[in-house]
């Protein structure tokens, strides 16, 4: 089977730090923090009250009139807004008729329609036996976003939804890349989406994994993550097709790697074994040497365990060179958007490659002896990047690493 090269020709995002990919570029350069008080639900009784919320989100004015917002959950609506931005950015909106049979949708999900459904469930539990309004459940599952997008755009290519918790978005991009690489589709809308909701917020709080203020990845006094929400979408396209139509190319997807810790459901393997495997597999898949990596967009959640173990895994894989590779956490700006994180950070990686800069880690002020890499804490840097690695690690020990390359680029990948 001849493998095709896969490039990214469109980007879209909605997150707490920015409402579009172009605004996200400037937010990342400025080190803008989107974390603040949560208002999408009443957080008064929770242990913490902050998060990376997309304040005042309303999909209607952000979408063209041909796209309906009927029955879209908050999660679906953010996915739709980011998908339409990415399609428009790629010059694929409206989708050309001839492309519909060969265009697919692959989404990484999380809580899906939980925000709406848990409210129905809560009212039912608190309403003395009254039957819940089950109609809210038509968009319950996280696969609803892909169905809405493909349905409204009349696409007929492959459609799938991954749910590997905090690595869903990255896994979706990796899988979509395989589909385009092997010719199962010419173009794919892929990414991830995640809403803030009470059950997720409560779950992370009960695990005492949330920083009550804002997350401080790699800082000595970090206390946990900040939950966030949003969507990140990109258009993957077969290189020949993109070239033929003269599309702008943000970068190439060179490879990805997936592994499992097989250690514990919620705590990472203290040796970082699964993380090393995922990164090594991404490099192997791409045929790229560890020496070629210019920047690592870390999983960097801000939990004491993750940041220490991720640092250890990077050192294990890159050896002495680890100290010379800039590593930063965009979650310090967006919060941890769970199912969307891998995709939003994919968008970060491609913006960094295309525009030639390294986004910073904000809120990291006090050095931790166990986190002693270059975390880009002084602010964004200009840099001519060629190869970027992006990590996503998750509950269940599900790890995915993506490898992005500048395009065009000499001497990289299988030719």
């Amino acid at each position: 089977m001849e493998l095709k090269r896969v490039v990214v020709t469109g980007l879209g995002t909605v997150n707490s730090a920015a409402r579009s990919a172009s605004l996200f570029h400037s937010a990342l350069r400025a080190g803008h923090c989107g974390i603040g008080p949560v208002s999408v639900f009443d957080a008064t009784d929770f242990r913490t009250q902050t998060g990376g919320e997309v304040q005042g989100f309303n999909a209607r004015p952000l979408l063209p009139r041909s796209i309906s917002t009927k029955r879209l959950s908050r999660s679906d609506a953010m996915a739709m807004v980011a998908a339409i931005e990415a399609l428009s950015d790629a010059g694929f909106f409206p989708v050309p008729d001839h492309l519909r049979p060969d265009m697919g949708v692959v989404i990484g999900g999380g809580a899906g329609g939980m925000l709406e459904c848990e409210a129905v469930y809560r009212d039912y539990l608190q309403g003395a036996g009254k039957r819940p309004a089950y109609s809210a459940f038509s968009s319950f599952g996280c696969s609803a976003s892909a169905d809405h997008i493909a349905g409204q755009l009349q696409l007929m290519g492959p459609k799938t939804t991954f749910m590997t918790a905090c690595s869903s978005g990255a896994t979706a991009i990796g899988y979509a890349r395989d589909l385009v690489q092997t010719g199962a589709a010419t173009a794919i809308i892929c990414g991830g989406t995640e809403p803030l909701c009470r059950i997720t917020y409560s779950a992370f709080n009960s695990l005492q994994a949330v920083d009550p203020q804002y997350c401080k990845p790699f800082d000595k006094n970090r206390q946990g993550l900040s939950l966030g929400e949003g969507a990140g979408m990109m258009i993957l396209e077969e290189l020949g097709h993109a070239r033929q139509r003269g599309a702008r190319i943000y970068g190439e997807i060179l490879g990805y790697g997936v592994s499992c810790d097989a250690h514990h459901m919620t705590s990472p393997d203290p040796e970082g074994g699964g993380a090393v495997l995922a990164m090594a597999r991404a490099l192997q898949d791409a045929g790229v040497s560890p020496d070629a990596v210019d920047y690592i967009n870390a999983h960097g959640t801000g939990t004491p365990a993750n940041d220490k173990i991720e640092t250890k895994a990077i050192k294990h894989l890159f050896g002495e060179r680890a100290y010379r590779i800039p590593v930063s956490s965009s979650k310090s700006m967006t919060g941890h958007t769970l199912g969307a994180a891998g995709a939003i950070e994919g968008v970060v990686s491609l913006l960094a490659l295309y525009h030639g800069f390294i986004p910073p880690t904000i809120h990291c002020e006090i050095p931790d002896p166990e986190c002693d890499l270059d975390y880009v804490t002084e602010g964004a840097r200009d840099a001519n990047l060629k190869i970027v690695l992006s990590n996503s690690f998750a509950f269940g020990g599900n790890n995915t690493s993506l490898l992005f390359g500048k395009f065009p680029q000499q001497g990289v990948g299988h030719e």
Binding site: M1, D45, R47, R71, G104, V105, M114, E118, Y121, R122, L125, Q126, P132, Y134, F137, S138, S139, F140, G141, C142, S143, A144, A146, D147, H148, A150, G151, Q152, L155, M156, G157, K159, T160, F162, M163, T164, Y175, D178, T182, A184, R198, I199, S202, A203, N205, S206, V258, S259, C260, D261, A262, M265, T266, G273, L277, D285, F395, G396, G397, N398
Partner: protein, 407 residues
């Protein structure tokens, strides 16, 4: 790069029994696993039946310490994975643990656990919730548990797509082995019957009897009046042919091609035109390098819901009606109920059909909606060279997978 992929082991926890021997005997004997619901009280519902897993004892398959950490779905899937590994006679050790993966499909996953968590959250407040429940609220929990229980660190992922999550996982797993990224994958999936989703499915009027007639799951039948919920887990052990042969395994069958497609509809809707499923089947045939006439046996998605059954019958008619020897068509949901992520059980059944050259009959079909070659009675010694699993999901997602008997 283009390695061949075979099934070397099967494992299942189903309404027709736990493990290969009882599953085979009942499935190929035409037994129906549907009975009155025992898991919860159905007072106030018109629907009263389900295909529930019976006689499942997790401790026969899973370490006691692990059982306590798993929800019911994870237990079923982990047990099925253990059985598949044992059936394949594949030992896991330091030499291969990084080269064995887990790929699952589930529709509801741990949503039942999330509801349990939410009950305390909404009744007693966020400071009273139980953190022990949290790991099992995520849909990828079963895959994580399987990896921990078996100690495997290869590719590990979970697909969520209504009725075709497990079929998609199967194709993704096969692709990973073909490309040499992993040597073996435990692939499949499962879902459980829960009161919560019984409520939801009742609300959306997907359950029999939709029309006031008799309750029952009647695939492809003119009297089909809705589906009946089912549950269970099925896992197949996939390996590269070379790897399987090198260690002296005797594979059940080979996976030779698949097709993925979609068609526009709303998340719980069914398309009215068969274009999507027809496209998926044609993609699968092309990938396998065969024509419709080569397919001998089809395991259909039909679940007794009139819209799905008519859509599928029309798709199969369009692709296969012109073939000289029309393929025998079965629909296992008649016996297993609609368990959503049924692809693992269906793949295991297909592997058994190819090895034993046997056809599983459609339980519940009396008067068919189309002139197709439906399997109405148990049959053995049927020449089956190529088998097709047709996956159709509400929301308009389609997966067709082709299996081949090994010469």
């Amino acid at each position: 790069m283009n390695r061949r992929v075979v099934i070397t082991g099967v494992g299942m926890v189903t309404p027709l029994g736990v493990g290969k021997a009882p599953f085979m005997e009942q499935l190929f004997g035409g037994v129906c696993g549907i009975s009155p619901i025992s898991l919860f009280d159905t007072t106030g519902f018109t629907s009263k039946s389900a295909a529930e897993v019976v006689g499942f004892s997790p401790k026969d398959f899973i370490r006691p310490a692990s059982i306590r950490r798993m929800d019911r779905l994870s237990q079923m899937i982990a047990a099925a994975a253990r059985m598949a590994l044992d059936d394949a006679d594949l030992a896991i050790g330091p030499h291969n643990r990084d080269q064995v993966g887990v790929m699952l499909g589930t529709c509801f996953g741990g949503t039942d656990v999330a509801a349990q968590f939410g009950k305390v959250l909404f009744r007693e407040g966020p400071r009273r919730v139980n953190p022990i429940l949290v790991p099992n609220t995520v849909m990828n929990a079963p895959a994580g548990h399987v990896a921990i229980e078996l100690g495997v660190r290869g590719v590990n992922t979970t697909v969520n797509h209504h009725e075709v999550g497990a079929e998609t996982a199967l194709t993704y797993a096969a692709a990973q082995i073909m490309r040499g990224r992993v040597d073996a994958v435990l692939a499949g999936g499962g879902d459980i019957v829960s009161e919560f989703f019984f409520n939801v499915m009742s609300h959306f009027k997907t359950l029999s009897p939709q029309n006031g007639g008799d309750e029952g799951l009647r695939p492809f039948d003119v009297h089909g009046n809705g589906t009946v919920v089912g549950e269970g887990a099925g896992i197949v052990c996939l390996e590269s042919l070379e790897g399987a042969l090198a260690r002296g395994a005797s594979p059940y069958c080979e996976i030779v091609g698949w097709g993925l497609s979609s068609a526009p509809t709303v998340p719980n809707g069914w398309p009215t035109e068969p274009t999507g499923p027809v496209l998926a089947i044609h993609c699968a045939l092309a990938a396998a390098g065969i024509t419709p006439g080569d397919i001998d046996y089809i395991c259909a998605s039909a679940n007794g819901g009139p819209r799905l059954d008519r859509l599928e019958a029309e798709a199969l008619r369009q692709v296969f009606s012109a073939t000289e020897q029309r393929p025998r068509i079965t629909a296992l949901k008649g016996a297993l109920g609609e368990s959503l992520s049924s692809g693992g059980m269906r793949a295991a059944a297909m592997a058994l059909s190819l090895r034993h050259q046997s056809v599983a009959p459609i339980a519940g079909l009396v008067e068919s909606i189309a002139k197709l070659n439906f399997a109405c009675a148990p049959e053995t010694q049927v020449p089956i060279r190529y088998g097709l699993i047709n996956g159709i999901s509400s929301g308009g997602t389609f997966v067709a997978v082709i299996f081949k008997k090994l010469a």
